[in-house]
Structure formats: C-alpha cells, structure tokens
C-alpha cells in the first residue's frame, strides 16, 4: 500500500455545489442540492445512489463537462472551468472511437496534449500492457468483447497519467463475470501501486461493487440529489464478499438507500407531498405481477431481504429498489429496514385470477396514484368520455421535466391499459373510456 506517500493533499474540493436544469414549464429542476465533497490523494471514493440522484451530474461537474449552477468546485485549488488537467474519465458506454484502432484510441488523449510521436507510442503501449490488452493494438473496437472494450477505455484514461480517475458506472454495461474480472484486476493494480494515478472517484448504483472497491462510499438521496450518508470501508483488500462485516455493510447500505432523506417512507406523506406531480417510472405490469408472486412464494412468504432477492433475480440494487418502490406506491408491498414486505392486498393479488387481478390493480391505481384518479375523473365527467393526453401532460410538466413527463405518461398508459381503466389511441394521443377491441370487432 502506498498510503503513506499518497495520503496528503486535497485533489478535489466541492463546496455547496448545486445544479439545476430547465424544466418544460420554464422553472428549473434541481438535481443536485448543496453538495460538499473532498477527494484526497490515495483513496477510492464511491458515489452510490439511485438513478436521478445527481451523482452522474456531480461526476461531470468534477470532469468539467457540466458547470455548477451555484457553489464552488475546485481541482487542486483552482476553480474548475472546463475539463481540468490531470483528470481522466472512463465511460459507462466505453466511448471508444469506432474508426480508430485500440492503439489510436489510447494515443488520442496524448495527441491532444501535443506529446511527440515516439513518446506517445511508448506510453500507449505501456498502458495497453498494464491493462492486459497486448496483442490487440491493431484491432478495432467492434472486434472486441465488451470487457476488452472497457479495458481500452481504462488504458485511454490511464495513459495520460491523471491524478484523478473518474469512472461513470464503468462496469454496468458488462455481464456479471466480465465485470467481476475487470473489478478485481483493477483493484489488484491499485493495491500493487501500479496505476499511474493518485485517486479514483467512481459512480455506481451497485452496492456490492461500492463496498468491494471503495475506501469511502457516499450515499446519495434523490430529488434533489444530496449526500445522505457517508460510510468508511476499512476492510483490507482483496475483500471477501462472504465476510460477515462485508455483508453487514451491504445490508446497511440497502437500508440507507430505501430511506427517504427526512421523513420515514410512510405511504400517506409520500402522496400528500407530491400528488399529481409524482414521477412514475415505467415498470411493466407483468414484472410487478411476477415480483409479487415471487415474494408471496417460498422461501420468502411475503418477506424478502433485498440483497438476497436482488441476487436471486440477478438485479442491480437500483433495479430492485425501483421495482419495490412501484409496489410500495401501489400499496402491494412496503420497504421495512432493508427488506421488502408484501401487504395484505399484495398477498391477495398473488392468489387471484387474471381478471380479478386487473380489478384489484385498477382499484389501487385510482386510490393511490393521484394522476390516475384524475384521468378517470375527467373521462367520467366529460360527455364525450375522451380527453387529449396533452391536457395531462401540461399538468405533469408543471412539476417535472419533459422527459419525466413522457416517462410518467408512458407508465400511465401501460398501467391503465392493463387495468382496463381506459383506452388510449397513440395516433391521436387521446384517452377514452371506450373499449377499442369491442368496438372495432363489431364494426
């Protein structure tokens, strides 16, 4: 370990940084709210959070790709304006240039620095060697597997010898085995002190990954993004996933991530706060039914430990939380201390036939999803029993960005169709009460 030599100076200092993006209705949507963060030499820091928690935005502020709306972001004491020197980035999607070979991709960053050809070649080949890509120098990215491509992404970032390596969910586009190999390779190089970098900042929504790799994990809460908690991971490398301390930390993080920042997640205040403006993530009703069935069946019997459930279903923490929240919204299940527990309605749902399920689903939609109730009411009241989607879209955009409004509308349509609450015509973008299948069939 190089802790003694590395752990001295402050690389990145973030003070009270906020960032908002313009929203459809003209007001701004706050995605990052007064965040503080310091990154010192010699540490791997993880930003853990759900999608939409602003962690990627924070990473991009540090990378100089996005400017903060307020607050101060400095790199080695200098305010960050545009990509700072000595910071390199690894992308989730690899971001390799398909028309350049592996070697040319790796050399790209050096060319921009104006390093002369021979030196460039030498350093590029050294980086390629280090990351285990020798033999692939003349290959084009499309000839490589995902894991190999991300190795190129690492080599390209390492070759400029950055002080800080930024990683934006670097393993999430890879399959489970490849991701694990790459993680352990990287950790091995890091503890051997062979990486030409001082610190790493990584964004992830994979809880185990964060505990496996990081010295410090910052948990972000969503809407707006804030640092909800910070955990130190003192376990020595290489870490063992089955170590009870490791498991305990993973459980704690799960629990932390299912908590709301200020108030506990009771269903009542959740809806009272947001009303029609609640963003609905699109989750297929099939997936919801499947999850309810799984929860109701052995071995869970209506009560599942989240890491265990995620492991069985091969889902990332982010995804399982996502599904759980939809169930919680519909009062079919509830988060309790890092566990997912079926409600009475949820248990009933699991035992019903298709039509009865649809009916129950419809009742819950109208009762617990305010916008669904609104649409149903409007359709009932209007003599024509039709309403343009634009009417509700406008209302949604008062509360959220256009993208979220689209997503929410998509969810509304899909859930409403499943529950047979209303029909939706995609061509004319109108909701109606008629049952399209019946009408057309008789005509």
């Amino acid at each position: 370990m190089l802790d003694q030599t590395k752990q001295q100076s402050t690389l990145i200092d973030i003070r009270g940084v906020s960032r908002s993006f313009p929203k459809g209705s003209g007001e701004d949507l706050l995605v990052l709210d007064k965040v503080d963060l310091t990154i010192r030499s010699g540490e791997i820091v993880g930003l853990l959070g759900r999608s939409g928690s602003g962690k990627s935005t924070l990473l991009r502020i540090i990378a100089g790709l996005v400017a903060p709306s307020s607050g101060k972001a400095t790199c080695r004491g200098e305010t960050i304006e545009g990509p700072p020197n000595g910071v390199a980035m690894v992308f989730q999607s690899f971001a390799l240039f398909p028309w350049l070979t592996v070697l040319q991709n790796v050399e790209l960053g050096l060319e921009a620095l104006g390093i002369e050809a021979a030196e460039r070649r030498k350093r590029a080949i050294a980086a390629i060697d280090l990351i285990g890509l020798d033999g692939f120098e003349s290959a084009f990215p499309k000839e490589l597997s995902g894991g190999m491509r991300q190795r190129v992404g690492f080599a390209r970032a390492l070759v400029v010898h950055p002080d800080l390596l930024l990683m934006d969910e670097p393993f999430s586009a890879l399959d489970v085995l490849t991701a694990e190999t790459l993680r352990t390779d990287l950790v091995d190089l890091w503890i051997d002190g062979r990486l030409p970098i001082k610190s790493v900042l990584m964004v992830t929504h994979n809880i185990e990954e964060a505990v496996l790799m990081c010295d410090r994990v910052l948990v972000f809460s969503s809407n707006p993004g804030r640092v909800a908690a910070e955990y130190k991971v003192d376990l020595p490398h290489p870490r063992n996933r089955l170590d009870p301390v490791f498991r305990q930390l993973v459980d704690t993080l799960y629990e932390r991530m299912t908590q709301r920042p200020t108030k506990p997640p009771t269903m009542e205040n959740m809806q009272a706060n947001v009303g029609v403006g609640l963003v609905l993530d699109h989750v297929s009703s099939n997936v919801l039914s499947g999850l309810i069935e799984t929860l109701a069946a052995e071995p869970y019997n209506g009560h599942a430990d989240l890491p265990v459930l995620a492991g069985q279903l091969q889902l990332e923490a982010d995804e399982i939380l996502h599904l759980g929240e939809s169930l919680q919204l519909l009062h079919f299940a509830q988060f309790k201390e890092g566990d997912l527990v079926l409600t009475e309605a949820g248990k009933r749902f699991a035992n019903l036939e298709t039509d009865a399920r649809k009916k129950l689903f419809a009742e819950h939609l109208v009762a617990f999803v305010p916008v669904m109730g609104l649409i149903k009411r409007v359709l009932d009241e209007r003599p024509s029993h039709t309403a343009p989607a634009a009417r509700f879209r406008n209302e949604l955009e008062d509360y959220m960005s256009e993208e979220y409004a689209d997503e929410t509308l998509k969810t509304i349509v899909s859930w409403g169709r499943y529950a047979e609450l209303f029909a939706y015509d995609e061509q004319s973008e109108t909701f109606s009460l008629e049952n399209p299948g019946v009408d057309e069939g008789s005509a």
């Binding site: 709306s69 971001a95 240039f97 398909p98 060319e111 921009a112 104006g114 080949i125 084009f140 499309k142």
Partner: protein, 578 residues
C-alpha cells in the same frame, strides 16, 4: 508487444515493389496526365470554342468524356469543401443555424437548371473572353445539384454526435479543430459518402444539360458529352447519339469502379456500430491498392501530413463555441440585434426583388406561371403514380428473390445515375416521326431518369423484409390483396417514400429540359412550368426566369412539406421494422 516489435513489423513490410505496384502506378500516372491535359484546355480563350466546334466524329468522344468527368470531379471537391464549412458553422453556431438551415432547405428545392441562367452570365463576366468562365458556370451548376443534400447530411451528423464521444473529446482536451477531424468528420462520413454518391448520380444529368446552353444572345458550347449530344440533335444524327450513350455508360461504370467503390469500401470503418456486422462492402480497386507495397509507402507522407493537419491545435472563434457556463442564457440583446439584421436584409431583398420583377411583369404573368406550375404539378403526380403502379410490384417481386435482387439492384442504381437526357433525342425522334401529341408524350421524359429511385428503394425494402414475418403471413394463409395491404406494402413503405421523394424532386428538375425538345429544326413544346423557364432562359428574359423559378420553388417546397414529409414521418413512426 513492445515498441521494438512494431518497428520490425513495419520494416519487413516495407519497400520491395511487386506487380501490383506497377499496375497501380500506371493507373495513377495515367490519371495525372489526363487531369493536366484536361486542365490545360480551360485556359484557352473563348473564341477557341468557335474555331474548334464540337465534332461528331466518335474519335473525339474519349476526350469529351474526360472533360465532362473532370467537371464532375471539380464540382464534388467544391461541394465537399462547402459542406465542411457550411455544416460546421450551422452546427456550431445557434444564430447562424437559424438562418442557414432554412436557407439550405429552400436551396434544395430550387430548380438547378433555372439557376444556370444567372450563373452563366455571372461567370462569363467574371472571366471575360475566357473558356474558364463558362467552365466555372458549368461546374457551379453541378455543384448546386450536389452540395445541399451533402451539407444536410453532415449537419445532421454533427448535431447527433453521440454524447459519450463528445464528452470524451472534451475530457481529453481535444481542441475544436482536432475534434472536428477526429470526431465530427469520421462520424459524418458514412452519411456523407452515401449522399455524395446520390449527388454524383444526379450530377451527370446536370453536367450534360449545362454543357450546351443558350442564354439570350450568349451561346456556350463546352466540349463534352453533353454538347456532343446537343450537336447531334442539331444535325439529326441518331448514330452519334448512340455513341454518346455508350460512352456515358462506360464513364459511369469506370467512375463507380475506380472511385466510389474504393471509397465506400474504405469508409466502412467509419460506420458507427459497436458490433461487427454481416457483409462489408468490397472493392477490387481498393484491394489492388492495398496489395501494393511501394505505393502504400508513398502514401505515408500524406498520412503523416493529414495527421499533422488534423492535430493542429486551433480553437474555434468564441462565436462558434457553445456556451459552457451553466444557465448562461444566450444574450437577449445580441439575439435581438441578430434578428434585426436578418430581418432588414430579408426585407431589403424582398423589396429589391419586387422592384425588379414589377418593372417588367404584370399580375397576369404571375397567373400564367402559376397555371403552368399546376400543369407541371399534375404531370409529376400522374407520373409518380404510374411509376409506383409499375415499379412497386416489380420491385417487390425482385426484392423477395435474393439471388435476383443481388443482380438487379446494381443495375437499378446504375440506371438512376445515367443521365436520362442523353436518351431524350431517341424519344423525341419517335414523337416527331409519328406526330404524337407533345403535351402527353414529352411528359414521360421527366421521369425517365428518376423512376429508378423508386425501383431500387422498393427492392431494398423488400429484401430487408424479415423472413419470419413472411413465414407468419403464409402460415396465416394471407394471400392476394390482403397480403399486399396488410403485409408487404406497410413493410416497404418507408423505403418507397424515400425513393418517391427523390423521384418527384428529380422530375421537377427534369421538367426544364423535358418539356421542351427539338430534333434538328423541329421544336416540340409542352405546356408547363419547365417549358416556361426554358423558353424564358433562351430568350434571356430574366424577370420571367426569376418568376418561374420562384413558383417552382414554392410548389416543390409545398408538396414536400404538406405531402412527402408527413408521409415519411408516418412511415418512420409506425411502419419502421426493427
């Protein structure tokens, strides 16, 4: 692999020429000699054209073909340079974009042959008494037929650069110039090359049409295949026209094999996809070149030069840089100023145009032009409908037979590139011979060259139709009308619309040369906007040319906006497979 190893690999590969070097060398030297020879001819005084009129002796045809080809080459180079500059400015500057993109859209629908009237006069005045002026006018005409769609393609690519690559270039500190050559241009390459090919196909038509042109008292006859045909028409020589058609066939084949195939095969690496896909395009010419040793070494300095050039550390001027600061709303004051300047310029142009036109035109002239325009519109509609009825069933039939499609597809593309106006005299000869009604029988000429776009797009659509859907259809016993309407027509619809848009745009352009025709001293004419513009051009009646072009421009833009684009959008939204 270490640095040492790489060097050795390069060295062992190096000089020792092989037989392919010789072949490639001869080809390269031949090309250079021809270019120099062709270039020398253009600096001659204009009077030389009169002393050495175009001869119908087929011996001269290779030289004529060479000069026609050189004009095409020059035009495509100009178009490319224009594309890079115009698209870059439009994509990088919001304010420029507001003006440049709508302008481009209009320019796309301006009839190119109408343009020629002005440019001939302009360029002849620019180089008085020199062949160069006339040559430039001709090159400019081809340029106007090629540049717009290439520019659009480049602009769209630049606006759709993947976000992660964009962030990567910023994160690795690439300068604006480096980014342009490393990201923007390669990313735009496949679309650009496809559009350049389409432009070239269209270009042959215009090079042939613009080599022999009369504007008022000025008659210019540039040596080339086009003027050869014009002379043949004058002298009623059907054999000479046969020679010209043959020559053109050979030229287009050579152009395709020697220039475009290699470029397409080479540019395959720029296709933006992360997985290796089926068949990569191949080119024997590129293979030949890649097999040579010495010639490849010769290109190394150029490659190095290219690297240095694209690596220059130039930043864009501030105006072209997108604001990096968060929420830094673009300045309202400068926006207002910009709108004011654009508004004043537009107003001034409109005022000038009005003064110019109203001096010599009556309202009745406008009615005439509109009436003629509607007649031509009717022609275009009927012709596209006929071509659809004929080529859609044939295209589907061919496209569903992969072996056949493989052979017919290049032929259809080739026919689309062939300048149909070379074949016009044959038809005119028949019309004159049998005394047919020119209002009816001249019309098919408009679509002679452009119908192939419908055919090859339909073939492409039918070939791409998923076989599982076909199998599902036959297992459901769908046949006859039901099969056409429920299965195949929706399946090929997006392709068909693409082809039909090109065909209809091309027909408007062709109307200027198709609605009037002559055979010796017999002159045929159909009523229509094309004939209106053609006659005004010949008479040097500029106000009427302007009026005709304006009306055509408006009609083309309207049909595109009100008919084709909604259809295209519908096809993309609802009927795109996969």
């Amino acid at each position: 692999m270490t640095l040492q190893d790489l060097r050795i690999a390069v060295l062992t590969q190096a000089p020792r020429p092989n037989i392919w070097d010789l072949v490639a060398l001869i080809l390269a030297i031949g090309a250079m000699v021809l270019i120099v020879y062709g270039g020398e001819q253009t600096t001659l005084p204009l009077s030389a054209l009169e002393t050495a009129p175009v001869s119908l002796d087929p011996v001269h045809l290779p030289v004529y073909a060479l000069r026609t080809t050189l004009r095409m080459l020059l035009a495509i180079v100009c178009s490319t340079v224009f594309t890079f500059i115009y698209a870059a400015v439009a994509a990088k500057s919001r304010r420029a974009e507001m003006v440049l993109i709508p302008l481009l859209d209009i320019l796309q629908s301006v009839p190119i042959l109408g343009f020629l009237t002005f440019t001939v006069v302009f360029f002849l005045n620019l180089f008085p008494g020199k062949v160069l002026g006339a040559e430039l006018a001709c090159v400019f005409a081809i340029f106007t037929s090629q540049a717009w769609n290439m520019t659009f393609s480049m602009y769209q690519s630049m606006r759709n650069v993947p976000k992660d690559l964009d962030e990567a270039t910023k994160s690795f500190h690439l300068s604006g110039w480096q980014r342009f050559w490393r990201l923007d241009v390669p990313f735009a390459m496949p679309g650009l090359i496809w559009n350049a090919m389409m432009s070239m196909s269209g270009g042959w038509f215009f090079v042939v049409a613009s080599e022999a042109i009369t504007v008022g008292n000025t008659t210019v006859t540039l040596p080339g295949v086009g003027s050869y045909v014009a002379t043949a028409i004058e002298k009623r020589d059907l054999t000479a026209i046969g020679y010209a058609i043959l020559t053109m066939l050979l030229v287009i084949i050579a152009y395709d094999q020697l220039l475009f195939r290699p470029i397409v095969a080479w540019a395959d690496k720029f296709r933006f996809e992360q997985t290796a896909s089926g068949d990569a395009p191949t080119s024997w010419m590129l293979d030949l070149f890649r097999r040579t040793r010495a010639l490849r070494t010769l290109t190394l300095p150029f490659a190095a030069l290219n690297r240095t050039f694209s690596n220059l550390n130039i930043e864009w001027p501030g105006a072209l840089r997108l604001p990096a600061k968060a929420g830094a709303a673009p300045s309202r004051v400068i926006d207002g100023l910009w709108f004011a300047i654009v508004g004043i310029a537009t107003g001034y142009a409109a005022y000038k145009a009005y003064i110019y036109l109203s001096a010599s035109l009556q309202p009745s002239d406008v009615y005439d032009a509109i009436r003629d325009g509607l007649i031509t519109l009717l022609r275009v509609i009927v012709l596209i409908a006929l071509a659809t009825l004929i080529w859609v069933p044939i295209g589907v039939w061919i496209g569903l037979r992969p072996k056949l499609a493989e052979r017919v597809q290049p032929l259809a593309q080739f026919l689309a590139a062939f300048p149909a106006n070379l074949a016009f005299p044959v038809f005119v000869f028949i019309i004159v011979r049998y005394g047919l009604n020119s209002n009816v029988w001249l019309s098919p000429l408009m679509i002679l060259g452009t119908q192939w776009y419908i055919l090859f797009n339909v073939i492409a659509g039918a070939s791409a139709f998923p076989s599982d859907l076909r199998e599902a259809a036959s297992s459901l016993h769908l046949a006859g009308w039901r099969w056409w309407i429920k299965v195949i027509l929706p399946g090929i619809f997006p392709y068909y619309v693409t082809g039909a848009i090109t065909a209809s745009g091309g027909s408007w352009n062709a109307s200027i040369v198709a609605e009037v025709a002559s055979w010796g001293d017999t002159h045929l004419s159909a009523t229509g906007l094309g004939a209106y513009i053609a006659k005004a051009t010949e008479a040097g009646d500029f106000p009427r040319v302007v009026l005709g072009i304006t009306i055509m421009c408006i009609l083309v833009t309207l049909t595109n906006r009100l008919f084709w684009r909604p259809l295209y959008a519908f096809g993309e939204r609802r009927l795109r497979l996969g």
